[in-house]
């Protein structure tokens, strides 16, 4: 069993690295502890700043330092995998309502979007059913790229500078995906109708776009809208071209 004193010494050392507040730890060489503090700080700050380049840029130095330092000291980092720590930074900012603290209502969505770019870039490959080239995007059972996230934002921080995004509050649907060939992360803006269709195709692979049309028309009150089928087909062909739709299920 570890003696309580040894346990406490280890915890004091770890806490010192986070807070910088020295506590008397027996037997340490004078002047050496700050090197540990510097090393730990640099690793964590480097990881977070690299993950959130836009947030870092649009916050003032004072805001960024306040947010980062609070996270560094207060948050007990849980992930053993360093590249996933930025998600905990986003969660911390959300949990402590930093959007309201800084009166920057777009802040949490900007953090979220920057995190999702990392997550989609790094995450494990999703399992896709076997597929081949689609000959009829309306009637085929389409396979949507699942190395992706389909999200809804209030502020279009992915498209505009934050000052502009703040003026465009609404429902903005974004599909963030990883190109299966190159691994490059891309995003596409979607209308609510297209987001609905993509979501249904992704989660219900037994139905074709034609199968989904009656429900879609009912949900969005599209009865009587001319050429809706052609518009959907055009959208699906575009998604096929962009690698959002991979093909049709074999």
């Amino acid at each position: 069993m570890l003696r309580p004193e040894t346990k406490e010494i280890q915890e004091q050392l770890a806490m010192y690295c986070r807070s910088g507040k020295e506590t008397p730890i027996p037997g340490v060489t004078k002047g050496r502890l700050p090197h540990y503090r510097r090393l730990v700080y640099n690793v964590v700050h480097g990881t977070i700043a690299q993950a959130y380049p836009i947030t870092r840029k649009v916050l003032t130095d004072e805001e960024w330092n306040y947010l980062f330092d609070s996270f560094f000291v207060e948050h007990d980092a849980q992930t053993p995998i360093l590249w996933k720590l930025p998600y905990e930074f986003y969660s911390y900012a959300k949990e402590h309502s930093y959007d309201q603290k800084f009166d920057k209502l777009w802040l949490l969505e900007l953090l979220w979007f920057e995190w999702l770019e990392i997550e989609v870039h790094m995450m494990q490959d999703a399992e896709h059913p076997e597929y081949s080239d689609s000959e009829d995007v309306m009637d085929d059972h389409l396979v949507v790229n699942r190395d992706s996230r389909l999200i809804q934002l209030e502020y279009p921080v992915h498209m505009h500078a934050v000052e502009v995004a703040e003026q465009k509050k609404g429902s903005h649907y974004v599909y963030i995906y990883r190109d299966v060939e190159t691994g490059t992360v891309r995003f596409i803006n979607l209308s609510v109708l297209h987001a609905w269709l993509l979501d249904h195709l992704m989660n219900n692979m037994t139905e074709s776009a034609t199968d989904l049309l009656p429900e879609m028309k009912s949900v969005f009150n599209l009865q009587g809208v001319a050429d809706i089928d052609l518009q959907i087909e055009k959208f699906l062909l575009e998604m096929l071209d962009k690698g959002v739709i991979l093909g049709s299920r074999n």
Binding site: M1, L2, R3, E5, T6, K7, I9, Q10, E11, L13, A14, M15, C17, R18, I25, P26, G27, V28, T29, R32, L33, H35, Y36, L39, V40, V43, V44, T47, H75, D76, A77, Q78, T79, P80, I81, L82, W83, L85, H121, M122, M123, Q124, D125, A126, D147, R178, T182, G183, T184
Partner: protein
């Protein structure tokens, strides 16, 4: 306990720590020629896309060792079995030959700090850490190697470092990853004799050697940065060390300053020359 003793197929291999910045060069094998690679599982596990593909190419081409960062074998708290399970999967999926971790802690009071903090060299810590290593070996069903780490201050020490390492290796019945650069760094920082230190370790337990560069940041302090070329005194210590142990794989670690890959390859060649000089004849069959 059903332990798998994973033996390296060729113990005279010279390897290189796998880093994103030179991963493609390493796989291509033109500028960099390594016999094996080492992954930090935490940087490569559960990864897909571009890097997932690079990893697949790498493990198809090279024998693989793994050197952990976050298991925090010296933590005062209980082991993270969820994480250990993921490590086990990683070791299996990547066909890892030697899995090693640092004799340090990176987590305390339920929080990771992502750096290697020194464990107090104390009797209770010996028993605590040895028990944790045994638990890890049982869970992974394989022996692990523990690395002597560089440290910049002792913390509440009640014994010297060599005794601490030796006691843990013996009580845990684990292997030793001897980081020769860390010995040099610690000897400089804490004023002890490198030969005396290495001689006092259980050298029959050494299954793996690490070599790296470092940076002197003050007249009395070296930081183990892995960012510079290996200096001559560390090569000399390596030369002295390999004469006292059986052949084992040797790894060059470099974490940044990758601009000159030719120079990195030169370091691999220099390490190979030294091991060849001492091991080729004496251990012709190994």
């Amino acid at each position: 306990m059903a332990k798998v003793n994973v033996e390296c197929k060729n113990k005279k291999m010279i390897g290189l720590g796998f880093r994103r910045d030179f991963s493609e060069e390493l796989i291509k094998g033109d500028l960099l020629q390594a016999d094996f690679i080492e992954f930090a599982p935490e940087n490569w596990m559960e990864v897909g896309g571009h890097w997932g593909r690079i990893v697949k190419q790498a493990i198809e081409r090279f024998p693989v060792h793994a050197h952990g960062l976050s298991l925090s074998i010296g933590s005062p708290e209980e082991l993270d079995y969820d994480f250990l399970g993921r490590i086990k999967t990683f070791l299996k999926d990547f066909g890892v030959e030697v899995y090693s971790e640092h004799l340090s802690f990176a987590k305390a009071a339920n929080a990771h700090v992502y750096d290697l903090l020194p464990i107090p060299f104390r009797e209770d810590a010996v028993r605590h850490v040895a028990r944790r290593i045994r638990e890890v070996q049982d869970f992974l069903e394989r022996r692990i190697a523990i690395e002597n780490v560089s440290y910049y201050t002792p913390v509440a020490a009640e014994m010297d470092e060599a005794t601490f390492i030796t006691r843990i290796v013996e009580e845990a019945d684990c292997d030793l990853l001897l980081d020769v650069n860390n010995v040099y760094v610690n000897a400089f920082n804490h004023g002890y004799d490198t030969h005396e230190f290495i001689s006092s370790l259980p050298l029959d337990r050494v299954v793996y050697i690490h070599m790296a560069g470092h940076e002197q940041v003050a007249p009395d302090l070296i930081i183990d940065t892995h960012g510079q070329p290996i200096i001559d005194p560390v090569y000399n210590l390596f030369d002295w060390t390999v004469q006292r142990i059986k052949p084992v794989p040797v790894l060059l670690e470099r974490d940044f300053n990758y601009d000159d890959l030719k120079q990195l390859q030169q370091e691999l060649s220099d390490l190979r020359k030294i091991t060849k000089k001492h091991w080729e004849v004496a251990y012709a069959e190994a």
